[in-house]
């Protein structure tokens, strides 16, 4: 549980809030390049950290992220013309460049020279790792870009999707690091009921996760604080002398990774506050050693795992609260726990059901919620330290993000961070 004050501190990220100040110390993904594909293309609205912004690509191909509203009469620049290295407001013709400087003000006498004195908020952007990133913080604290493995593989080796979720970002992160939910929310009925046929199938498969989940239903949780955030170890009994470990990371300010099985694609999320009641979910699937396999593309196309199909204009998933995520009660009776198709929609349904900002004073946690507790305490600590003037370490050390999740068998006398050291290194 958290106190009301702690919950507020963590979940508010608008300008001027301590949580907002914290997120404004990191580069954040804000756009798919396809949203602003060519010079002088149409501008697009971008809402992030409670700010209404507008992105456009100027005539030189530079991506601008500026205040949505013209300072003259507060008209939306969304209706503006993207022309000759600037966006012109169609109301009275004021024009702004990528730096937010007003470069033309045709309705005022030229001799007043107003245009050079007028500026709107404009944030630096970078194209990196298949995404467009922005930094919304003070220029003197501009951080490093995070050297995430998925951001450094060739385009052919990764797929990144974007969707909007109707909850605060923290609820989404907590879903990402809560490994105990996957045996229930994402389970098939056979797995949940542990039918004979399921046991037979698992016993003879190479799927270690399924095998050891069957053997030990009460895993032990371990957390370790690191330079990038947290590594979370979930340990299950395996053979007499070994443990099966699943290791995942929480990377500041809001990245998570799904435990990686060697030979398969790796998956991770970045959860970016859109405002206090909604967040952007960026999901990456990648292979360091080659292009994604046909099977992996099938899973993406069929939405079976972490990606979901969305409305291309709004990024709202096609399975959403408004249509009850296309819940199929018959499927719930006979196929899986939820009757909802795909892990992404299952997560979204359950997290949105908690309300936009869950009241954490009313929770009833247990020791299986250790990772959630650790993540909240770390974020609270970081936010408070920034309020006292200490800049976040990870923001200025992009190398610390060079890390990967893992799952492996280790002898019982080996510490997981020692045993998994090589496996947790990113390669690209």
């Amino acid at each position: 549980m958290l106190s009301h004050e702690e919950n507020e501190l963590l979940t508010h990220t608008a300008p001027g809030t301590p949580g907002g100040d914290y997120f404004r110390r990191f580069w954040l993904p804000v756009l798919l390049p396809s949203e602003v594909p060519t010079p002088d293309c149409s501008p697009v609205r971008v809402k992030v950290l409670g700010e209404d912004l507008l992105a456009f690509r100027d005539s030189k191909g530079r991506v601008a992220l500026i205040d949505e509203f013209c300072p003259h009469r507060r008209a939306s620049l969304f209706w503006g013309r993207n022309e000759e290295c600037g966006l012109r407001c169609v109301y009275h013709g004021w024009k702004f460049d990528v730096n937010g400087t007003c470069v033309d003000m045709p309705n005022e006498p030229e001799e007043y020279g107003f245009e050079n004195k007028v500026r709107i908020a404009a944030y630096p952007t970078r194209e990196y790792g298949g995404l467009i990133w922005a930094y919304l913080g003070p220029p003197e604290h501009q951080p490093d870009l995070p050297k995430l493995e998925w951001a450094r593989v060739p385009d052919s080796h990764r797929y990144i999707s974007k969707r909007v979720q109707e909850t605060n970002y923290l609820q989404a992160i907590e879903g990402g690091i809560d490994s105990s939910h996957s045996n229930f929310l994402h389970a098939s009925l056979d797995a949940f009921r542990v039918t004979d046929s399921y046991v037979e199938k698992v016993k003879n498969s190479s799927n270690l996760r399924a095998k050891y989940h069957l053997l030990d239903k009460a895993p032990r949780f371990t957390v370790k604080k690191t330079d990038y955030g947290l590594v979370i170890g979930v340990r299950r009994n395996a053979e007499e002398d070994r443990y099966y470990w699943r290791l995942t990371q929480f990377l500041l300010p809001s990245y998570t990774m799904i435990p990686y099985e060697k030979g398969l694609a790796i998956h991770g999320h970045c959860w970016v506050p859109r405002d206090d009641e909604t967040c952007w979910v960026w999901t990456a699937s990648w292979r360091p050693d080659g292009p994604l396999s046909e099977e992996e593309w099938d899973s993406i196309r069929n939405e079976t795992f972490v990606h979901a199909k969305v409305d291309p204009a709004t990024f709202r998933p096609l399975r959403n609260k408004g249509n009850q995520y296309l819940l199929d009660r018959e499927k719930q009776r006979s196929v899986n726990m939820t009757g909802i198709h795909g892990f992404a929609a299952q997560d979204q349904a359950i997290q949105e059901s908690m309300g936009t900002v869950v009241d954490r004073t009313r929770e009833r946690l247990g020791t299986s919620d250790t990772a959630i507790i650790a993540t909240r305490r770390l974020l609270l600590q970081e936010i408070r330290e920034l309020s006292e003037g200490r800049q976040p370490y990870a923001a200025h050390h992009g190398d610390v993000y060079w890390i990967r999740s893992a799952s492996l068998l280790l002898n019982r006398d080996v510490e997981f961070d020692e045993g998994a050291r090589e496996l947790m290194k990113a390669e690209v």
């Binding site: 106190s3 702690e6 371990t222 957390v223 946690l365 250790t370 305490r377």
Partner: protein, 99 residues
């Protein structure tokens, strides 16, 4: 019963009830906890105690233990907030009143 030299703060106490034994075990772990990770584990244990006492109060309205459990429930909350404030020793002192 729980010599502090033998208590490992890296270990999470299994909280299945709010018996005196469980409380003593949690208290002993509080007394040797120093790092961020230790405090996370202690908070998880106190959350579990608070959850169990809360469910008892909700489900056993006629119990003769009700007043005592209610005090423990409140004390657990206080201890939890002390751990959140990085004061595990003070949290242990709060819980010692219940054993």
């Amino acid at each position: 019963m729980f010599p502090l030299s033998e208590v490992n703060p890296e270990h999470i106490v299994t909280v299945k009830d709010f018996s005196a034994d469980t409380l003593r075990n949690v208290i002993a772990h509080l007394k040797v906890s120093t790092s961020f990770e230790h405090l996370v584990y202690r908070e998880a244990e106190l959350d579990a105690l608070w959850t169990i006492t809360g469910f008892f109060l909700a489900n056993e309205p006629a119990s003769t233990q009700r007043d005592a459990v209610n005090r423990l429930h409140t004390g657990t909350h206080k201890a939890h907030d002390l751990v959140a404030d990085r004061r595990p020793e003070a949290a242990a002192t709060v819980l010692e009143a219940f054993v």
